[in-house]
Amino acid sequence: MKIKFAFAAIAGAVLFAACSDDDAVQPNKYVPLGKYDSGVLVLNQGGFGHDDASMSYISFDFSKLENDIFSLANPEVVLGDTAQDICFYGPYAYVVLNGSNKIEIVNRYTLKTVGTIDTGLSNPRYMAVYNGKGYVTNWGDGVDTTDDYVAVINLATRSITANIPVIEGPERILEYNGKLYVAQTGGYGYGNKISVIKTSDNSVTTITVGDVPNAMQIKDGYLWVSYGGKPSFATSETSGGLVQINTNTNAVNHTYPYSGTTTHPSNLVIDGEFAYYTIDSGVYKFALGAASLPTTPAFSTTDQGVYGVYSFAVKQGHIYVGDAVDYVNNGKVHVYSLGTGLGQAPLGTLENSYTVGVIPAGFYFNF
């Protein structure tokens, strides 16, 4: 609903400026709801076991970078260990901390902490929200292949009300039409399924896709999944690809595989009529409806020293790339032109670079 308001504000800025000069009302003037409104929150995983997960803020006009914003807002609180995901709901951001087995709840615009959920989570990974409930994927114990679950959180009471058992290694989670789609990357092993949970009765079915499904998007009633294939250090390496699934029937509508065994796509994002994803340091652009996946990248990030895109987002005509560098030192965020806007530089033109915290793991657009 806030998105609508932002749009209204922009639209209003044009319309009202044109047909009204009534200063008394000024509905065109957008008042930020906090210091960290109108920008992207970058979640920095931090070093495993270091308790140094952090967040950074980059304003939408790219003029402002602020690092370690959680600590600035809450000097007495340690955010935690190995941040994994952020989920927005209402005025809150739910920060999932894998290593700390907790969710830190903060005001999404001020970053002031308002609460913690620290019981009932075991290796929490990603979170989705539907109908006043939070759904958090949990690996359970990494070595236990049968204790994985999706925790259901009553967001009003901030307590876990149910656990939905799923197969090993539930990772990203996405809600569409009252159903939850869970990418089963496989935890310490390699999964090849999407779990579908009906929120009405918490029943679970699965769809077999390719090895290691790593990202999901919804487009025109279809679920699109990028799967990475098994990595080079697995006993048998496999290539990945994209899969298109009919959400009404749960049937695979189309598979777009890469040939060979060494091509590992990830980070699927659909923007408009195009799918964007990454392979190593390359960013790929795929026109939905085309017969097969491109074999050469739309552009490469190697000029920025990126040898594996760690996190990725496409928003408002920009591509955001998170570079974990050596996983030890502070990471980088590079912003590239999407090349679709009027008068915008061509696709892949570097627009801005920032040094953020250790291992930038995700981008969350706050407006």
Binding site: S54, D68, G80, V143, S232, A234, T235, G308, V358
Partner: protein, 611 residues
Amino acid sequence: MTAKKPITILILLVCQYILAQHDSIVPLREVTVSDALLRKFSQTQSVAVLNDSVIAKNAASLTALLNYNAPIYFKENGLGMVSSPSFRGTTAQQTAVIWNGININSQLNGLTDFNTITTGNFDAILVRAGGGSAIYGSSAIGGSVHLGNVLRFNDQFSNALRVNYGSFNTLGVDYNLRASNEKVSAQLGLSRNSSENDYEYLDTNGKHNENGQFYNTSVNADFGVKLNNSNYIKFYTQLFEGERHFSGTIASKSKSKYQDLNTRNLLEWNSFLGKFTSKVKVAFLSERYKYFENAKTELFERSTAETVIGKYDLSYAIDTKITANLIVDYTQTKGFGQQIGENVRSIGAASFLWRHDALRWFGYEISLRKETTSNYESPFLFAVGARFNVLKSYSVLVNASRNFRIPTFNDLYWQGLGNAHLKPESSYQLEIGQRYQRKNTWASATLYYIDISDMIQWAPDENSGNWTPSNVAEVQSYGAEFSVGWTKKIGQHTIDWKTNYGYTISEDKALKQQLIYVPVNKSTTNVAYAYRKFTASYQYLFVGQVYTPSQKFHTVKSYQVSNLGIDYDFGKVNTYRIGLLASNFLNENYQSVLQRPMPGRNYTIRLTLKF
């Protein structure tokens, strides 16, 4: 230092002190101590001896003992948790731990966790600073720590029992039995340590060290038989079994636990044939860990390594001034586990050691060693040293050596990520030391420089992005160690004072920055005052700021810890000592490792009975 234990007279002090007793002591030590090379070929390096009375005054773990009595820095993941050393600025895998002459560093990860060694099992613990690979093999780059048992052939029957109980429900029991006569010598040691370890994290609104409880049990049995005047058979065996729950950090609770089971066995036959001393040794070592990600479940990951060592050591005393040793040894290790598969490594080696006390004021020693194995090319290892006894009370020691650290089973074979093409890390080292020794006072100062190449580091691979080890880093480490001691006895009053200070620069040559978890400054002081049967002792530890890998917190701040103990001996003939120890009595809030607080003020009652 008690005269009862000849080993404890060891090198601590100065060379001529030992030289003066050369003839009478050497044969005795050859008989009683398994690691005779340590004394014979360490006259140009500094060796500090911690005898059983020092061991008894400190907490039961090797970490606690050395942290307060040696220049070695320890990185401890909370009290009793994994503890790894940095000796002269080197890494945890670059300090060798030697048990009765046998290198016991883990074959799986290359290091010894100093919280898995219970000090009560040993008669003496020696700290040998500087390179020692030419004698002790892998890992003796920064230095080596020697755990020794003594078997004497005299009439003796004695018992010693120590019981400690203190804060956090911490219990330590240590029992030692010795029985020997002219023909047979036996020793039995049993230790048990346990703790709830649920200490409060200071200044955190009452957070505690949750899931930090631990226990360990160790058994030590040594047995020797004198077949005749020139033939001895000896058997040493040790077992350590422990379980630690791994505590978490300030912001993150932990639920894991870790179990260790280590056994060490050594059988040796010593023959003294005129100028020849022949030693045949066979050792069997095993190490096994189980890691439970969730302590409440029975699911775990495990790895095991089993090592068999055969060694032949022939020593020839050409005359009273020259000793030569030829050693050949063969080591075969089998490692197996979920992550490392099953692999066998065999290493054959030959060493030649030479010591020449050429003049009363001058002596030198040379050690050479070459190993061969199928996995990698081993460098030629050496140590060359000289001593100059410039004055009766002042001497200068010089030593140069080449040392190495071999890749571990984890480095080589970790499933899909290990790198079978790793080379050993290797180092060149130069040191110069000075000693001053008078009746009540001694002092030493040592300067060293270590150049380490082919350091093995786990990092993402440039091409695949996979986390994998490679021989990338070049490190130089240099610094100074100072040590002073003073003892004074006035009537029934005795004062004993000892201070160590280490200054360490250890930097990655490419990054030009101090390595993480290596403090530039570390200092320890021990002061004891005794009046008749009353003793008061004070310990002080200063550890300077260290860098951490965290880009957010950057450093762990420096800390100072003080311990105060008082003891009174009620015994007339036997020892019945009771004492109270206040550890960290100034209640310093400190961390050894980032976000892992150590305990504040805590107390221990201790009881020692010898009969």
